[in-house]
């Protein structure tokens, strides 16, 4: 097994062979991947060393200190956080070799073609069809709210392969080529004015069977891997104290005494405490993961993160008073990634409304915590044994 010394030596060798100052960004990242230092817990040859996940911290710290470029997880979040673990678990050897490196390096951006107009929280109700034709599958349907579809090279996609089975059983999971002529991406402008997500129309899109992940009809199971990882990756990044949304508002408070009043002070302090506690809870979760005792806490972190972001950004607009009546820019744009801190308080307020919707609504996550973590009984269901095609729509 690879140990800390081994990892540190490899990091030093990488830096010696490819000095960050004189190496082109992508070249450095490729070399890092090939050295197994991208995600050390991944298998050898796929950017990792089969090493304990804990050792990654040391690698990251050392590379950051040496001024090495990072692979900008904001832009490639869906690829890193969701596509990669799913491909690792369900992809064939060829699929892993083909996709993981450009994904990690950030040369290829990914998006997630899951939600449909008629299937949001009830994702398993989806109706996009995939029909087998020789070595290919032919896809027809419509997806919606697809973040980054306009910059994505590839997509993870779930589609219905058997409408005669109950809804969870007739779904299959694919990798979809976003440059296929049958894929049409239309911007969907959102509450903030920009179009970060899209509608995606799929018309006779051909996907080779080799780009299927998991067995035919097992797509729901495969999607669970994606969704679990999605929740952890949304709430899960390591932050310093005041590293999240609380940072800008605390700074404004310190710098602008004229904005202060007692009511705002009480609310700010309460949120400061909650933000600090959420940060500690995230840290505890990471320590549990590193020690190999993952708790169920992951599913909860996103809930806390969403509520806090919304309350803090709401308070921030209020704190600014007259300035809070203004907005920085309503121009319709199609950003590459979400930038919470690069814009003003009004933007943060509006965009954070999506935090309790994207990746599963807070209501749905509370159900998951109640049923899977606490073991409370599920609500009566009337769709479990009915063929998808016979469900009311």
């Amino acid at each position: 097994m690879t140990d800390a010394t081994d990892v540190r030596n490899r990091t030093k060798e990488l830096l010696a062979a490819h000095p960050p100052a004189g190496t082109e960004r992508t070249d450095f990242l490729k070399a890092r991947f090939d050295a197994g230092l991208a995600w050390v817990h991944y298998p050898k040859g796929l950017g990792g060393l089969d090493a304990p996940r804990t050792l990654q911290t040391a690698v990251d710290a050392e590379l950051t200190a040496a001024g090495a470029p990072d692979n900008d997880p904001r832009r490639i979040g869906i690829g890193l956080g969701m596509a990669a673990p799913t491909i690792l678990k369900y992809g064939s050897e060829e699929v892993k070799q083909r996709f993981l490196r450009p994904l990690w390096v950030g040369e290829e951006v990914w998006c997630q073609l899951f939600s449909e107009p008629g299937a949001g929280s009830d994702l398993a109700a989806l109706g996009t069809r995939a029909v087998r034709d020789g070595d290919d599958w032919v896809i027809n349907g419509q997806k919606v709210w697809t973040s980054s579809a306009h910059v994505a090279r590839w997509a993870i996609l779930i589609a219905r392969t058997d409408p005669d089975l109950p809804k969870h059983r007739g779904i299959t999971y694919f990798i979809c080529d976003m440059t296929d002529p049958g894929v049409e991406v239309r911007p969907l402008r959102q509450i903030t004015g920009e179009a970060e997500f899209n509608e995606v129309f799929l018309t006779n899109v051909r996907i080779p069977d080799a780009h299927r992940l998991g067995e035919v009809g097992e797509g729901w199971k495969v999607a669970q891997t994606t969704l679990m990882n999605e929740r952890v990756s949304i709430g899960g990044s390591r932050l310093p104290r005041e590293g999240g949304m609380i940072g800008p508002i605390a700074q404004t408070w310190r710098e602008r005494p004229e904005l202060r009043n007692h009511d705002l002070h009480q609310r700010l302090l309460s949120l400061w405490v909650e933000a600090e506690v959420a940060r500690l809870a995230g840290e505890r979760l990471r320590q549990q993961l590193a020690a190999g005792q993952p708790g169920p806490e992951g599913s909860g972190m996103k809930l806390a993160f969403a509520r806090l972001n919304q309350e803090i950004s709401g308070l921030e607009v209020e704190l600014r008073g007259e300035e809070g009546l203004l907005y920085d820019d309503w121009t319709m744009s199609r950003p590459d990634f979400v930038d919470f801190t690069g814009r003003d308080a009004g933007y943060r307020y509006l965009r954070s409304k999506g935090n309790s919707i994207e990746g599963g609504t807070s209501e749905v996550l509370l159900n998951i915590v109640a049923e899977r973590v606490l073991g409370l009984p599920s609500e009566p269901r009337n769709d479990k044994d009915v063929a998808w095609k016979d469900l009311a729509r």
Partner: protein
């Protein structure tokens, strides 16, 4: 790896897990909630046998005390685990007052002196208990009862052997037998309160001068507040578990009531808060154990947060048990009473928030 050493350790060690198992099984044997209630009603909440086993046999009383003074040389992390279990069982035991606050205060004095060392050795062995003569509601407004002839609301004074009394010229150990102790009727039946009248007790032993005394008392109260968060955590955890268990079993409208989403979401929310409270409480215990410069901040955060979580979990426990939860026979009220008085103990969340405002430079208008 240097970046990691500055991170607090928020997990439980194996030794801590073992300690927890020992304390939990002792409390299950000796202090189930039915007997806690019977004892509380009889006006003698403490069970001396239970204390002997917890403090002496398990060695919980001496966790903070170094080995050379007869203790176990463990830390606040271990003491916090004991408090989690005491919170889970609302067991009446002078642990927080004697083994944490009084002990921590004494440890901040000159432990080379015979009086201090002697007292610590007794406390560590569980042979005697001591409490600080300060109201349980704490002194976070900065006011300590220095030289006051009568002090009210002192927790566990009635069972303690020794009172640690602040006078203008220093800290004194006073035999409880030599002062007038008047029991008060507490909201929390499991943590008795008393008023003591201190006019010129015989045989007071001076332990420290005024300056050392005040610093030590503040340290004792800080540690007490920090570890109280763990008691609150344990309490909240019990309330959630019992509520989940009950709502899975209780049927109304031909369904388990736990299958109603309106209830599920409330319990899921409490769960999320308990998970967060655990991180906050562990962080405070770890900060106290490593004596890190952030300890006061960690304690203020933990107290502000965990107090509210415990109260909420206990209130939800009563509400979701409904009629059953309102009965005297059901233990929910013991938890609610403990949670609500813990919220005030050693500083309300509001007081801790004020302290925090100064610590993190978020000044009031």
């Amino acid at each position: 790896m240097t970046t990691q050493s500055t991170q607090p350790d928020l997990l439980y060690s194996e030794a801590e897990d073992d300690l927890r198992a020992a304390v939990r099984s002792l409390l299950a044997d000796r202090s189930d909630t039915a007997s806690v209630l019977v004892r509380a009603e009889s006006g003698t909440p403490y069970d001396p046998e239970l204390w002997k086993a917890l403090a002496g046999d398990i060695g919980a009383a001496g966790l903070l005390v170094p080995e050379k003074l007869g203790g176990h040389g463990a830390s606040h992390r271990e003491a916090a685990v004991v408090l989690e279990e005491l919170g889970r069982s609302v067991a009446p035991a002078p642990y927080l007052t004697s083994s944490v606050i009084a002990t921590e205060t004494l440890l901040a004095l000159d432990t080379e002196t015979e009086a201090v060392a002697g007292l610590l050795t007794e406390l560590a062995a569980g042979r005697g208990t001591a409490v600080l003569a300060v109201p349980l509601s704490g002194s976070h407004d900065g006011h300590l009862p220095v030289g006051e002839p009568r002090i009210t609301g002192i927790a566990d004074a009635a069972v303690a052997d020794v009172l640690l009394v602040l006078r203008a010229d220093g800290l004194y150990a006073v035999e409880t037998a030599n002062v007038a102790v008047e029991a008060l009727t507490p909201l929390d039946l499991t943590r008795p309160l008393a008023a003591v009248t201190l006019d010129d007790p015989a045989d007071a032993t001076r332990l420290a001068d005024a300056e050392t005394a005040e610093k030590a008392v503040r340290r004792g109260l800080l540690a007490g507040a920090g570890l109280l968060a763990s008691e609150q955590l344990g309490l909240a955890e019990w309330c959630l578990e019992e509520t989940v268990r009950h709502t899975r079993e209780r049927h109304q409208f031909n369904r388990p009531i736990g299958s109603f989403q309106a209830l599920k979401h409330r319990m899921a929310q409490v769960w999320l808060e308990v998970v967060s409270a655990r991180a906050a409480a562990r962080n405070a215990a770890d900060a106290l154990a490593t004596d890190c410069s952030d300890a006061a901040l960690a304690v203020a955060v933990a107290q502000t947060y965990c107090s509210r979580v415990a109260v909420r979990a206990a209130e939800e426990c009563v509400q979701l048990h409904a009629g059953i939860g309102m009965t005297w026979e059901h233990p929910a009220h013991l938890y609610l009473k403990r949670a609500k008085s813990d919220e005030i103990a050693l500083g309300t969340p509001g007081r801790h928030k004020e302290a925090l405002a100064a610590l993190v430079d978020l000044q009031a208008p």
